[in-house]
């Protein structure tokens, strides 16, 4: 076996810079013993004297304009996952260590014309992916990972060379285990070589059995099983179009390719997709057009999908010719899971057939649900949302609304002042004990209003308010 280790030392930083080029000083911080400290920083930050390990407040005193990102292990892990997907072309056996990928290339190197060809290709493509990596080759995964971190570029293939390659490395680079660290510090065992020379039984008694076992795995004296990577849980593919497409109906053909691929993917995983997210890339870097295609049931039937897709894109007006079409499915689900969900006690009225029909015909923005927001300002106390998403009720909403009307005007309508009272088809009669609402100083939307229940000459009950600052009267709601 031969393992290729790819170590991404700047991964915590690159997961941010790769998305958006960051010209200014950028640091990634993480919490160490309760204080924020710099984990990685870009060269602009280094120019200010910021360096890893510095406490964040200290870093901020060096550079006030520092852009601070909190280290995001989830994102790093995701990046590694994506890299693994990319690396799948080089090896069927892929394993992870933090910031590091391990590829077993002993079997696959021939496909690439031997090791040099494979490494060249790896390096070349890595550049395109936008990550910087250091590599090492060794007969064991542990050694490959260790060397990639400590002696990048090192390539060893036999046991004897391996031993002399790892012997001068600091023991601390092999393991961060507490017992071993202490041994290193107190007994003066600094290198892996120092430990390799010690009597094994006596060492095990002092370091615990983990260290000798680790050394065995390092040198290939013991098996080194790894959790291997398996294909991702979501699907995302983009098809670059050969020519430009200006007619939305012409998208059906390339879309079909994606859907066939998707369905193959889903079959492999034993699942179905319920929400297809389409992205159309336009010429000249115009903002892409994105839309979702909902399905009644989880499906992996390409024909069915295509039928719904046709109905959907009929209404679509393309703002510009399309150069690429992307399909993404985030949450595919197993059929079994879905049928379980039907038996849920409180499924909510998610009749997808109805919503799907209404949305596809009318557009999603016309088929909406409603939710309460926790704000005293009536215009900010509610929001349109996806149907069925408004079930969570903010605390206190009940209390507030009891004296308020079931109808709210989309925006307050100014009322004429008629001798000190508002006029709405005649002078209104106001009930006593107004509700005073004062809120919003924190977001610039400060209001201070007295809301009255008013009776119109026609007998309607209205919700009007007086703007205590501006002084005018407004109609804001109806009790009918």
């Amino acid at each position: 076996m031969l393992w290729l280790a790819l170590y991404f030392p700047q991964l915590p930083l690159e997961v941010f810079t790769r998305v958006r080029q960051q010209a200014g000083a950028l640091v990634v911080v993480e919490s160490q013993a309760g204080r924020e400290q710099v984990s990685r920083c870009n060269s602009a930050a280094q120019a200010y004297g910021v360096r890893p390990g510095l406490a964040l407040p200290a870093a901020l005193t060096l550079c006030a304009d520092l852009v601070v990102q909190r280290r995001d292990p989830g994102r790093e892990r995701q990046a590694l996952d994506e890299l693994a997907a990319w690396a799948y072309q080089f090896s069927a056996r892929i394993a992870f260590e933090p910031s590091l990928l391990l590829l077993e290339v002993g079997a696959s190197r021939r496909l690439f014309g031997g090791l040099p060809g494979l490494l060249q290709r790896v390096q070349h493509e890595l550049q395109q992916v936008g990550y910087s990596a250091r590599h090492a080759l060794a007969p064991t995964p542990t050694a490959a990972g260790l060397l990639a971190r400590s002696r990048p570029g090192c390539e060893v293939s036999d046991a004897q060379a391996l031993r002399s390659a790892v012997a001068p490395l600091p023991l601390a680079s092999l393991t961060r285990e507490r017992a071993v660290r202490e041994l290193v510090r107190h007994v003066g065992l600094h290198t892996i070589g120092d430990v390799l020379g010690l009597p094994r039984v006596e060492l095990a008694r002092r370091s615990g059995p983990a260290l000798p076992a680790l050394l065995d795995r390092l040198l290939g004296h013991a098996a080194d099983p790894r959790d291997e990577w398996s294909p991702p849980r979501h699907f995302a593919q983009t098809v670059e179009l050969l020519g430009e497409i200006g007619q939305s109906t012409a998208l059906v053909f390339p879309a079909r390719r994606l859907m066939v691929a998707l369905c193959g993917f889903l079959r492999g995983l034993g699942g179905g997709a319920q929400r297809l997210q389409w992205t159309l890339q336009h010429r000249d870097g115009r903002p892409p057009t994105a839309f979702d295609q909902g399905l009644l049931d989880p499906s992996r039937d390409a024909d069915h999908m295509l039928e719904v897709f046709r109905e959907r894109i009929e209404r679509l007006v393309l703002p510009a010719p399309v150069v690429a079409i992307g399909l993404r499915v985030d949450d595919w689900q197993a059929f079994a899971e879905h049928s379980l969900a039907l038996l849920d006690d409180n499924p909510g009225p998610r009749d997808h057939a109805l919503l799907e029909r209404l949305s596809n015909r009318l557009g999603e923005q016309r088929v909406r649900g409603l939710r309460c927001l926790p704000d005293h300002r009536p215009e900010r106390a509610w929001q349109l949302c996806r149907p069925g998403d408004g079930d969570a009720l903010p605390d206190g909403a009940h209390r507030q609304g009891l004296s308020q009307p079931p109808w709210l005007l989309a925006s307050p309508r100014p009322l004429r002042d008629c001798g000190g009272v508002p006029d709405y088809g005649g002078a209104l009669r106001l009930e006593n004990l107004p509700e005073r609402i004062e809120a919003g100083w924190w977001d610039g939307g400060d209001i201070t209003r007295d809301y009255f229940i008013a009776h119109s000459p026609a007998g309607e009950r209205l919700w009007v308010f007086r703007d205590r600052r501006g002084g005018g009267w407004y109609l804001h709601g109806l009790f009918v």
Partner: protein, 233 residues
């Protein structure tokens, strides 16, 4: 409100079980207003079309108790082309589960009618409130109303159309037509047409501010001092 078991619901056909069963005729839904129930011989017609005719979309308050009750179930309460924003906090305060509300808005009259029909027959909605003609058109014609009536039966969905008073003369296949207008103590409701019953008769429903619970369970005549606005009596 009484506690209802799941079995009861199933037995009564209150719970939609996914099959588009034909609902027995004559079934009604209590409005939550005793005086109104009395006037309507039990409540709103179930799985049927009702019309509320008024000058300016009056009558939502009459339905709030029903909306609140039905929103506890698993089906949508659909609002087609509402004239204003249904004010979520006020609805929530009156016991409405706002997550169950489905709004179809900013649609043409044609779309509104299409959507109403889809909703009614889908079986996924227990109640449909619609303001046809809101977009400026002439409003539904008799044939269209008939389609809605059929769809309501098909999907076991009660439909309430809010229409201008001037349509009172228009023929309608609705099971119930009411005239609604403001009164000092609430809303005055007058029965213009009732399928299988007498027309005529009216009552005043004390829709108030948060005093619904107080007003409930009393007859219109002896509301008197306990309800708000008593000074005007």
């Amino acid at each position: 409100m009484q506690v209802i078991s799941l079995d009861d619901l199933k037995r009564n056909g209150d719970l939609w079980q996914g099959r588009r069963a034909v609902v027995p005729a004559g079934r009604v839904l209590s409005s939550g207003w005793p005086v109104l129930d009395e006037l309507l011989a039990g409540g709103w017609p179930r799985a049927a079309l009702s019309e509320l005719l008024s000058d300016s979309h009056q009558g939502l308050s009459l339905l709030l108790p029903l909306i609140a009750r039905l929103s506890a179930e698993a089906r949508w309460i659909t609002w087609v082309a509402p004239p204003h924003v249904p004010y979520a906090p006020a609805l929530a305060a009156r016991g409405v589960r706002v997550g169950r509300l489905l709004l179809i808005r900013e649609v043409s009259d044609e779309q509104a009618l299409w959507a109403a029909e889809q909703v009614l027959k889908s079986g996924a909605s227990s109640l449909l409130l619609a303001w046809p003609g809101e977009a400026g058109g002439k409003g539904p014609q008799t044939a269209q109303l008939r389609r809605l009536q059929l769809a309501a039966e098909q999907g076991d969905c009660s439909a309430l159309l809010f229409r201008p008073l001037r349509t009172a003369g228009q023929g309608s296949s609705a099971a119930l037509r009411l005239r609604v207008r403001p009164a000092p103590l609430g809303l005055e409701v007058e029965v213009l047409k009732r399928r299988g019953g007498w027309a005529g008769g009216s009552c005043i429903v004390p829709v108030g501010t948060g005093l619904r619970a107080e007003g409930r369970g009393r007859r219109a005549e002896d509301r008197g001092a306990r309800s708000e606005g008593g000074a005007d009596a």
